[in-house]
Symmetry: C2
């Protein structure tokens, strides 16, 4: 380790209380983006972030959109070397706090609590998602600048205020400011560690195609006493089609579904197998004991590298208390496909609709409604930036940093990829139990402190 980096890390340790005070200032602003009643608070949080960046030496501004503002800050001071230009992304808005009565203390009055084992946690809405997370990066920049007067690489910070509301203004903002925001690489701090002591870089995200299918048979509900037998039952039609969606090995049967789906690199598979995650550990807490996905694939592969078909909802006929001998006119299901990199969302949607339509008996019709489509995504598993960051994390935490996937999606990563032609490296220090969308959100003090130190190291080696 260079003596300079040593001094940067020492300064981070020495000024942790000031870093925490800045986090708490920001957490005290109730920047709930989904509720119009908090619009002024959202704006106040954007102002706070721009001022904070300016205090480090960024040229920062609050940028208006049709919705909540964006904050963009460019480091225009000296950099240490002709390094890549990175775009750092975070979001300063937070989730609503309902049900408020379940909070043990007011959500916007942050506090530090010491647990029986001596570990400490930061309490309050946004301590983790995403105020605490994105400040780990900003504070790392602050320390570099304080010690050296420079940043190791060129940095642009880009903070959004609508992430918890579906980012309605993001795509247009990226298009309108393409040249300003298109960098060599994006850094995204909105993900988790593998566990409390093991850092992780997220390299795959799954996309999603949502479909609603309505099967229509008779022109009205019929009585099964009279019509039971001759009359076609749409629930039976629907159940038959849905039952066909998977084969006996748990694979999805849509023709062409796995086209373009790649295998994880051998070294990654070895790493994932070495994690040794058991069904008891992962599924036990939710009352299950056995992986139910594709046979022959580990649970981590099933979640991170394999697409799925899921029935998220079904409704038909009489579903209230008691019993009615009705033959309903319609039956409906909501079906989603989690996609991985290489799959075409529109092709999957088309394949599903054809699959259903081909299985309709005479007298049954199907209607479809689209509920969103986003592709899956994988960054290059062996890019120099990712490998450098992995080494830096390993040094900081003393435990090998894992390359992992995410079963869900982080839409902005797709936007960066498609609109700005930019790969992302997703590093975050959240934990499974941070309750990020629930009452009593917390962030580990170790996540905050070692998160800052981690970014300081990563900036130094990028």
């Amino acid at each position: 380790m260079s003596p300079t980096l040593d001094r940067v890390l020492d300064r981070i340790d020495a000024t942790l209380d000031e870093s925490l005070e800045r986090l708490f200032e920001l957490v005290r602003i109730p920047s709930i983006s989904t509720d119009p009643a908090f619009a002024a608070d959202v704006a106040a949080a954007a102002d706070w972030a721009a001022r904070d960046l300016a205090s480090i030496g960024f040229s920062a501004a609050v940028r208006t959109t049709p919705g909540h503002p964006m904050v963009v800050g460019h480091w225009q001071g000296p950099v240490e070397r002709d390094a890549p230009h990175v775009l750092f992304y975070g979001h300063y808005d937070v989730q609503p706090v309902d049900p408020i009565e379940l909070w043990h203390r007011p959500p916007f009055e942050p506090a530090i609590e010491t647990r029986p084992d001596g570990s400490r946690i930061l309490l309050g809405r946004g301590t983790a998602d995403d105020k605490g997370q994105f400040l780990t990066f900003i504070e790392a920049c602050r320390a570099h600048v304080a010690v050296t007067g420079k940043l190791p690489v060129r940095v642009t910070v880009f903070l959004e205020g609508e992430e918890e509301s579906g980012s309605p203004s993001l795509p247009a903002f990226l298009d309108e400011n393409h040249d300003e925001l298109a960098c060599d690489l994006a850094l995204v701090c909105d993900t988790d560690m593998w566990d409390r002591s093991t850092p992780a870089i997220t390299a795959t995200l799954r996309g999603l195609v949502g479909e609603e299918v309505i099967i229509r048979c008779a022109n009205r509900d019929l009585h099964s006493g009279l019509y039971g037998g001759p009359a076609l039952n749409p629930i039976r039609v629907l159940a038959g089609i849905l039952a066909d969606l998977h084969d006996a090995n748990g694979a999805v049967t849509l023709p062409g579904f796995y086209e373009g789906v790649g295998e994880p690199p051998a070294d990654l598979r070895v790493q994932w197998d070495a994690i040794g995650l058991t069904a008891a550990e992962f599924l036990g807490p939710v009352g299950l004991s056995q992986p139910a996905g594709e046979m022959g694939r580990s649970m981590l592969e099933q979640m991170w590298m394999r697409p799925t078909a899921e029935i998220n909802g079904i409704l038909g006929g009489y579903a209230g208390d008691g019993f009615k001998t009705v033959l309903p006119a319609t039956a409906t299901a909501k079906v989603s496909f989690r996609l991985v990199a290489g799959q075409d969302p529109q092709a999957v949607r088309d394949a599903f609709r054809a699959f259903v339509t081909q299985r309709l008996p005479k007298d049954a019709r199907a209607e479809f409604k689209s509920h969103g489509a986003s592709p899956g995504l994988a960054v290059a598993f062996d890019s120099p930036a990712l490998r450098s960051a992995q080494r830096a994390l390993t040094e900081e935490w003393g435990t090998p940093a894992l390359i992992i996937g995410s079963g869900g999606s982080i839409p902005v990563v797709g936007n960066f990829n498609r609109q700005l032609g930019m790969d992302s490296v997703m590093i975050g220090f959240g934990l499974d139990d941070d309750r990020v969308h629930s009452p009593n959100e917390k962030y580990e003090l170790s996540s905050f402190h070692k998160g800052i130190r981690s970014w300081a190291r990563i900036l130094a080696v990028l």
Copy 2:
């Protein structure tokens, strides 16, 4: 035809206006059994019926039960010959009238209306179900007594006031009055003709087993982003099981399901085929074009002589507007089996539960709720009473009377069979379009008039 019967029929024609006035008196009493607010009216209708029977010469009484009363009347005058003792069943209670605003005239102010084609209909709640129907029999008795001073056979009349409320007091009443009510044969007047000009005797009724199945997997709803793949989805489990319930030919796959199910006699099958009912006629009005029941069976067989499995309701996951990527903890279906004579309801229930349980993957559990069980029923297709009644109906209507089945159930027929050891002959003069449980209930004047004449003939030949 005997000269005596001729005179009886002439009298029926001559006194039709008086018969109608009696029907209208009864229809004016709003004897809605399901609504406690009408309890006094239900009692008044029972009183009316007992007085009416007494006016003919029956020894009649209103008999209390824990619910609404029964009316029992014994003919104790002379009979023409040593004939069978018949128990005639009807019900004097009626359905509620909601939604009242859809009635074209007040439901309890009966009236006669002449249609453009010259046919006339009786309007009002209960004109068909079952006040008009059961009075066809009473008025036939009145005419016989008026002309001859006798009835052709021994008659006991048994009228219920809870048929539209599920007959809660019936089983105990039959047990407590077994010896008084157990006759050689029951006559039940609560069924339909085949069409406006074709009389029919109903010889089969389907029973019903209702089952609710709840599939439970995880101990709480999960997010498909994280758990999609490894976590078992109860909707998928349920759809797979339900899809298995029928084979490719539309037959039910429960082991033993068809045990005891008989074939219709050859002459009945010939008769049914001769009806020539087309899918366009039967299914066209409800928007279907093709029978969906067991292949190789006519629609009439599918409805009258074949058991079915139907999914009457299904619910799981998110079924509201929009989309949620939930993996639900549970999924539920309501399944019913229409049964025919020879099937054991408990065996069908057991077979269904075993069928579901055997198909559960590890980590899925099933809970079951019973929603009633009643066996299917078939009277002897060739009993002398049925054949005599068929000839009498054929003579009255000038069109061969059909032996038909009913896809639904008439529970009292099962009670008579099981509790009193008595077969029933089901003859009624209702039509499909009588709107018996809907606003604007009507009964054809021809059904009432020729119904009385039909019973007069049947009484003469039994």
